[in-house]
């Protein structure tokens, strides 16, 4: 059977057309942001520089792609069309009449749809894992920097222990099918996922201790929502069945949190050691505030600038880590459409076919680039103040 092809111009037009919900979303955000720039604080200032606009737009592009993935992608990322095996970009699938815009891979799946659906996996795991790492690192970094002494020595030793491990070795040991047969990922998840609950409980308790009514509501909400997520993630026993995570995803998630929280710990510890010498901390100490109140309500808000920049960079770094996991075939299912797995699959066949390798490569690169540009623009803005 003869397969018809679109020309280069047709491919470009086709790709632009497929992304229509993304363009609409970007246009709305851009117009609204420029309209209300003055009122948006730090986010509004990002639109002052070209680097900032580019960073925001690239990140939002992938965010909208992930949200509207099922509209943007013409095919199911796992569906195979035997006639289309290894076809070049622009080939038209005879039955549906839809084009394989970026061609098909060696298992005759649509590369474009796989790239689009891959963004979903990356944009769920990377930011979520970074936020958990932030919680763990902050909750441990605050006391280490504030108290110093023995607490600091022990926690720093543990953090350096993890940091001394090459990441790849850590992944080869922690993300294996073998380890999923043991309860180790569950234990680690149990330890890491308790930190957000501790963090928010302490946060509310130290501030609103004198107002028991308000405190009770806040604590109840924290424990209820936190406990719900905790049950779903750690024990896979969410009573409503909304939050569920497969064992291999939990394994990846825990390993990534484990690998990146010592970095957050070090940064938070350094910031706290610097900020605790300021006058307002001394003032709070003189007022007789409790140490945790000072850490959470005096020190932490003043450390937010560098922390926001670090979170942006760290999400990019986590994306790279996820790609590494995919590239070595660790954790993610072999047919998973994520970008790392896509690069692994196609890089072995570069001699024969180049086209399946390029979309995931440029997707990963552009997303990380967007985050790095965003971090750079944020750093510039926070230096200005």
């Amino acid at each position: 059977m003869q397969i018809e092809y679109l020309g280069a111009f047709g491919i470009i037009l086709g790709v632009l057309a497929r992304f229509w919900p993304v363009w609409v979303g970007l246009a709305i955000v851009l117009v609204l942001s420029l309209r209300f720039k003055k009122k948006l604080g730090l986010y509004g200032q990002l639109f002052d520089t070209g680097v900032g606009v580019a960073g925001v737009m690239i990140c939002l592009f992938w965010l909208f792609t992930a949200i509207f993935a099922s509209t943007v992608a013409p095919f199911n990322p796992l569906a195979q069309f035997p006639v289309m095996k290894n076809v070049l970009p622009g080939a038209i699938e005879p039955q549906t009449g839809e084009a394989f815009l970026f061609g098909a891979d060696r298992l005759a799946r649509d590369v474009f749809s796989r790239m689009v659906f891959g963004s979903q996996i990356v944009l769920i795991i990377a930011p979520a894992a970074t936020l958990f790492a932030l919680m763990v690192g902050t909750t441990l970094g605050l006391p280490a920097g504030y108290y110093g002494g023995r607490v600091d020595s022990i926690l720093s030793f543990l953090a350096n222990l993890v940091l001394a491990f090459p990441v790849i070795l850590l992944f080869y040991l922690l993300v294996t099918p073998g380890i999923r047969e043991t309860p180790i990922p569950q234990w680690m998840a149990g330890v890491f996922f308790i930190f957000p609950i501790i963090f928010f409980s302490t946060l509310f308790y130290t501030r609103y201790r004198s107002r028991p009514g308000l405190l009770a509501v806040q604590l109840a909400l924290t424990l209820l929502i936190g406990g719900w997520v905790y049950l779903g993630l750690v024990f896979n026993a969410d009573p409503f069945g909304l939050i569920a995570i497969s064992p291999n995803q939990l394994n990846i998630f825990v390993a990534v949190v484990f690998a990146s929280s010592p970095g957050v710990f070090r940064i938070v510890r350094g910031l706290v050691m610097d900020i605790k010498t300021r006058d307002y901390v001394a003032a709070a100490q003189t007022r007789g505030e409790s140490p945790w109140y000072i850490m959470l309500w005096e020190v932490l808000p003043n450390a937010r600038g560098p922390l926001i920049v670090d979170v942006c960079l760290r999400i990019g770094y986590t994306t790279i880590l996820l790609g590494t996991l995919g590239y070595f075939g660790l954790g993610l299912a072999p047919e998973s459409p994520d970008w790392g797995t896509g690069i692994k699959e196609s890089s072995r066949l570069l001699r024969a076919y180049v086209h399946p390798a390029l979309p995931p490569v440029f997707a990963l690169m552009s997303f990380v680039l967007g985050l790095n540009l965003l971090a750079d623009a944020l750093r510039e803005q926070s230096l200005k103040d």
Partner: protein
């Protein structure tokens, strides 16, 4: 200074002890031991056969006894042949003597690789040598290029050169090895055909420009952006100092000021950054060696990890942790040495 170095060495030894214990625990988990037994016998072995293999080779002894044996503080026992009742060597292909002896890391014995069927030392050290060559060329490319980019960008903050180079360095930090490797292989190996997309021949026939450029380039690119940005930041800071203005005001040319006054002070910070790049370079080594099939340390590590080759994997982790910790120490000592304002307490 001496007591500082001694204390750091003590912490280093403790860290290595803790980490090897963790690795030892992880490779000796039940599923991993099963995997090892299956790879040593064959897929169709019954679970009794697997169990008896594990029993026979001493994998069922107490965890801490076995860790002690690996470390060299507990005697390693030979296997006992159940038929004759005589002692036989545990792994005949490693020429292990058939007698109880202290032979562990402390005695310089890294053990026996079950995957390659050779002593670990004779596999690990040639691989380290091969990776050393790769690292040498990566450093030769990465350090001068990144320092040059950083100095050029930081010389005149906010100029067009600065902005172009800064965006370029951000772009390279967003390009991990598996991404740049694919892009370079597509451009230089598939389309242009100038370079070889595989470094497998480098192990046998020695390295050449044709087979070694792609791995070196791929690894260097990711590091360049980071070091260049650090150099730029440090250069920008130095250029605002009073003594630079003084030098300019006394009539010195801009080039002379940069070379004679600014450069020396601006290169202190990048030195530590380059040293702290080593842990990341180790990960890069693994990716690049797997991608370009170069038989070095990273390739060995992947083989050891995917076959659960216990002794080889422990040897690999020991080496990599040692590299990471000693570069940290060198960077701290070197920083204090280069910058007289910092004195180590």
């Amino acid at each position: 200074m001496l007591s500082f170095v001694l204390r750091r060495l003590g912490v280093m030894a403790l860290t290595m002890l803790c980490l090897t214990l963790v690795v030892f625990f992880l490779v000796n988990l039940e599923p991993n031991l099963k995997k090892l037994a299956i790879s040593q016998l064959d897929m169709r072995s019954s679970s009794e056969q697997l169990e008896s293999w594990l029993q026979k080779n001493g994998y069922r002894e107490n965890f801490f006894v076995r860790y002690g044996q690996w470390l060299g503080v507990v005697q390693k026992q030979p296997n006992v042949d159940p038929g004759t009742g005589r002692a036989v060597p545990r792994f005949s292909y490693c020429n292990e003597p058939a007698e109880p002896r202290y032979s562990g890391i402390l005695q310089g014995d890294f053990g026996c690789s079950t995957k390659f069927k050779v002593p670990v030392a004779s596999k690990l050290f040639p691989a380290l040598g091969a990776t050393g060559i790769l690292m040498f060329w990566v450093m030769m490319v990465m350090v001068p290029v990144s320092l040059l980019i950083g100095v050029l960008a930081g010389m005149r903050e906010g100029s067009r050169t600065d902005r172009t180079l800064s965006v370029a360095s951000i772009a390279t930090t967003a390009t991990p090895e598996y991404v740049s490797g694919v892009i370079f292989a597509v451009i230089f190996a598939s389309w242009l055909g100038w370079l070889n997309g595989s470094a497998a021949t480098a192990t046998r026939e020695g390295i050449s420009f044709y087979n070694f450029t792609l791995p070196v380039m791929t690894m260097a690119v990711y590091g360049i952006g980071y070091i260049a940005r650090m150099t730029r930041a440090s250069m920008v800071e130095v250029m605002t100092q009073q003594y630079i203005r003084t030098a300019r005001l006394k009539g010195l040319g801009f080039g002379a000021v940069v070379v004679k006054h600014a450069l020396r002070n601006a290169l202190i910070a990048p030195f530590t950054v380059i040293m702290l790049q080593f842990p990341w370079l180790l990960t890069g080594v693994v990716i690049v060696e797997v991608m370009f099939r170069y038989q070095g340390f990273g390739f060995t590590l992947v083989e050891a990890a995917s076959n659960n080759d216990i002794d080889l994997l422990l040897g690999c982790s020991l080496v990599s942790v040692f590299v990471v910790l000693s570069t940290q120490l060198i960077s701290d000592v070197g920083y204090a040495y280069l910058n007289p304002r910092i004195r180590v307490q």
